[in-house]
Symmetry: C2
Subunit: 478 residues, 2 copies
Amino acid sequence: MSKVTPTLPKGTRDFGPDELRKRNYIFGIIRNVFEKYGFQPLETPVMENLSTLQGKYGEEGDKLLFRILNSGDFLKDVSQENLNYRQSSKVAHQISEKGLRYDLTIPFARYVVQHQHEITFPFKRYQIQPVWRADRPQKGRYREFYQCDADVIGSDSLLNEVELILIYDEVFRKLGLDVTIKINNRKVLRGIAELLGVARFNDFVIAIDKIDKIGYEEVAKFLEENKIVGEKRASVNFDKGNLSYYRDFFYDKDLTVLISEFKAYDNYEGKEGTEELKFIIDKATSIGKLSSSILFDTYLAPLPLIFDQKLARGLDYYTGTIFEVKANNVQMGSIGGGGRYDNLTGVFGLPGVSGVGISFGVERIYDVMEELKLFDNIDLQSNTTRALFINFGGEAETKAFQYLQQLRANDIPAEIYPSSEKMKKQIGYADKKEIPYAIFVGDEELKSGLVQVKDLKSGEQQFYSIEDVIELLSKKLS
Amino acid sequence: MSKVTPTLPKGTRDFGPDELRKRNYIFGIIRNVFEKYGFQPLETPVMENLSTLQGKYGEEGDKLLFRILNSGDFLKDVSQENLNYRQSSKVAHQISEKGLRYDLTIPFARYVVQHQHEITFPFKRYQIQPVWRADRPQKGRYREFYQCDADVIGSDSLLNEVELILIYDEVFRKLGLDVTIKINNRKVLRGIAELLGVARFNDFVIAIDKIDKIGYEEVAKFLEENKIVGEKRASVNFDKGNLSYYRDFFYDKDLTVLISEFKAYDNYEGKEGTEELKFIIDKATSIGKLSSSILFDTYLAPLPLIFDQKLARGLDYYTGTIFEVKANNVQMGSIGGGGRYDNLTGVFGLPGVSGVGISFGVERIYDVMEELKLFDNIDLQSNTTRALFINFGGEAETKAFQYLQQLRANDIPAEIYPSSEKMKKQIGYADKKEIPYAIFVGDEELKSGLVQVKDLKSGEQQFYSIEDVIELLSKKLS
C-alpha cells in the first residue's frame, strides 16, 4: 500500500455531521409532507442498464451519463477497427452496459412498467436519492446531487395538480422560505404556437423558456430568424405580420382574457389548457387559503400561486400542467419544478398512462436557506449528545457509566469521555461538539449520591440526583 | 425512442414501499441507538478516485471494484500495444480513474485524513450507505447492498469496545433478535501463533477462521501441509510435536486459563490480548446487565457476549479486539462484525491513529427478521394513509377536500380519491393500500355537517363530526 494524498473526484462532496443535519432536516420535512399526502417511498438501484437510460435525455444527456466499465476481459469482443481508430464513443457501447442513474423519473417509469401488475393505481410514490451527471462542475452544480420527486401515475384528475401545489406550499412554508409557484400548461403554449404558425414546437418551447432571461424582443428575433415561427401563421386577425404584436400574449393578458381569446379563435388546445389552469388555480387557491390558515395559524394566507404564460420548462415529456418554484428575494434559479406527462411509460411499452409530478431542488434549497440564515432558528441538535460525563477513572468511571446508561435508557443522547484525560481536554471535547452539559461524578459525588451538572454555556454548576438530571434533560429535548 | 422491455442490472434491486418501510424500520432503530451513544452521521460520495480504493481490499477486491469509464475521448492516450493485445486489465487503468465505493471504511479513513484538522477527536461517526461489489450474485448476495458502520477513531480506550458491545446488544434486542456476540483479540491469535511458530500470520488467521466450518483437525492438517506452522515452534513444553495437541487452545480453555498460560510462557502479545478481553468482558457484562434491566425491564438480563478464541475475521487491518454477531436459531452467516485497527489511516499518510468499529449486516438482518416473521408484530403503517375520503364530485368533493386538509393539518396522513369513480373502485384502492378507514362526505353528510366513517376491516360505519374524526385517528396514531 503506497501513501497517497487523498482527494475526492471532481464535483462530488462529503457531508459531515453539521451539513448532514441540515440536509436531513430539509429531507425530513419534505418526506413528512409527502407521506401526509399519501405518497409512498420508492428506491431504485444506483446502476441501471444503459438500454434503460440511453436516448431518454437527448443527445446531450447521453454524453453526460456515467458509464460503468464491464467486469472481466471487457476488450475481448470489441471490433479491431474501433480500437485501431480509437473510436471512443463506439467502443464505449461495447465495453459498458450499465450506467449511473441520471434522474429519478426514468427509473420510476421503468419500475412502473416492470411492476404494473402489482401496483395499485393511481400510484403515488416519492423518491429521494442521488443522481449523477458528468457535467462540468461549477458553483452550485455538482456531478453527484440529490433529487427529490413526488409523482402520481395512473390518474388524469386535476385534483392531483391541486394536491402537488398544496405540497409545495406546505413544504416551503415549513422551511420558512418565501416562494412563488408559477404555473402554466403546455396546451396553452401549443395553442399559442398554433396561432403563431410554429413549425417546430420543441424549439419554440426552448426559446419561450428564455423570455425571462433575455426579454421577449430577443426571443421573437430568434424565432423569426430560425424560422421556428413558420409561414402558415393563422390567418385570423391575430396575424399582424410582426411577432412583437404577440408580446402581449406573454406579458399582459390574464387567464380570463386568454380563455375568451382562445374561444374566439376556436383554438382547441389553448381552450383546454386555459380551462385546466382555471380549475387548478381556483381549487388550489380556495383550499390553499384554508389549509394554510389551519396549519400556520394565519388568517386565510393567500397561496403564492401565479399563472405565467412564459413558463415553458425544458423537458419534452410534459404535455399538460407545468410548475416552477422560485425563491423570492434571492438570486437563484428555480428551486422546484414539475408537470404532467401523458406518456412517460410508453417508451418502455406501457402507453397511455397519465401522470403528474413535482421535484424539489434540495441542493439549491439548502443554499438559499444558508444564504438567508434560516438554519439559525432551527434546533438541529435534538439528536446530538446532550451531556458528557467527565471521566475520572476507576470506581468513579464505573459509576458514571451506570448513570450514563440510565440517561440513554431515557432516550437522552449522552457520552462518557473514553479515558480519564486532563479536565481541559475533556471539556474541550464537549465544547467542540457543542455538548451543552458536563456531568461530574467524582469522589465527592460518589459519597453524596448526587452528580454535579455544569451548563457549559453559562458556566453554572449545580448538584442533582440522577433522576432530576433525566427530568431536566428530557424537558430540554422536547 | 425504441421500446425496450426494462430489466435491472444483475444483483441489484428496487425497494418498493412495503420493503422500504421494513428496511427503514431497521435503519431507524440502528440510527437512533448510534445517536444516543454520541455517534454523528457522515455521508461520502458514491464515486471515489480509484487511487483511493485500489490496493486496499487485496487482489481479489481490486477485481470486484466497479470502475467508471472516463468521459469524453477516453481512448486517446491508451498505449497502442495494450489495445493490440487487448490487455483489458492494463487498459482499465488507463480509461477509468473513478470507481464505486466498495465499503464504508476506506472512504471514512480518507475523510478523516482529509479533515484531520477540523475533526474533534475522538471522532465518533456512523455511516449508512450502499456499497458495490462486482461479485457473482447469489441468494442473499447482491452487487449493491447497504453497509451500516459505527467507528470511534482517535482513542485507544477499551471503553469504546464496551460501548460498541452495548450498542450491538441494544439494537438487536430492540429488533427482537436473539443473538450471540462473539469476541476475541488479534493479539491472542498472535500469541498463539508465536507459540505455534507460525510463519505467515495472515494465512494462519484465514485458516483459523474456518475452524467452525470444517473443524479443527482439517485446519491443523492444512496448517501443517502448507507450512504455515513453521519449524521454530516454541520450545516450551507447549511443543508436543503434533498440532492436534493444541486444539484445546481453541476449544477447551477459558479466558482465565489462557491468561495464566500466556503468563507462564511469558508471551507478551497473548498476555496483553487476554487482559484486554477480560477488561472488556467484565465491564460490558456488568454495565450490560444494568442497561438491559433499565431499558427492557428485564431483571439483570445477561449480555449475550462470549469469548471465542476461534474467532479470527478476514480483514487484515484489525490489530486488537475483534467482534462477530450471529443470530441464534437461524441458519445464517454473521449479521455483524468489527474490531480495532491501529493504523487504518496510515495508508493515507496519517499513521498511529487507533480506532475501533462495528458494522451491522442489514441485508442479512432483514432476511433473518423476515424468516422469523418479526415484522408481523411491528406497526409499520403509522406514516401511511390512515383514511381515504371517497370522492362524490362537485360540492361534496370540495367539502371532503376541506376536511381532508384539516386531518393533514393535524399530522394525520390522509387522501381523497382523485376522481369520482365508482364506489367499488375507490374502496378497492383503499383495500389494496391497506388504508384502515373510508370517510364519506355525500349529500346527506353535507346537510348534517357530520361525516360517515367506515372501518374497512370490521365494516362498521358511524357518523362523526370532523373534530371527532381527528381525535379518533390521532389516538390510533400515537
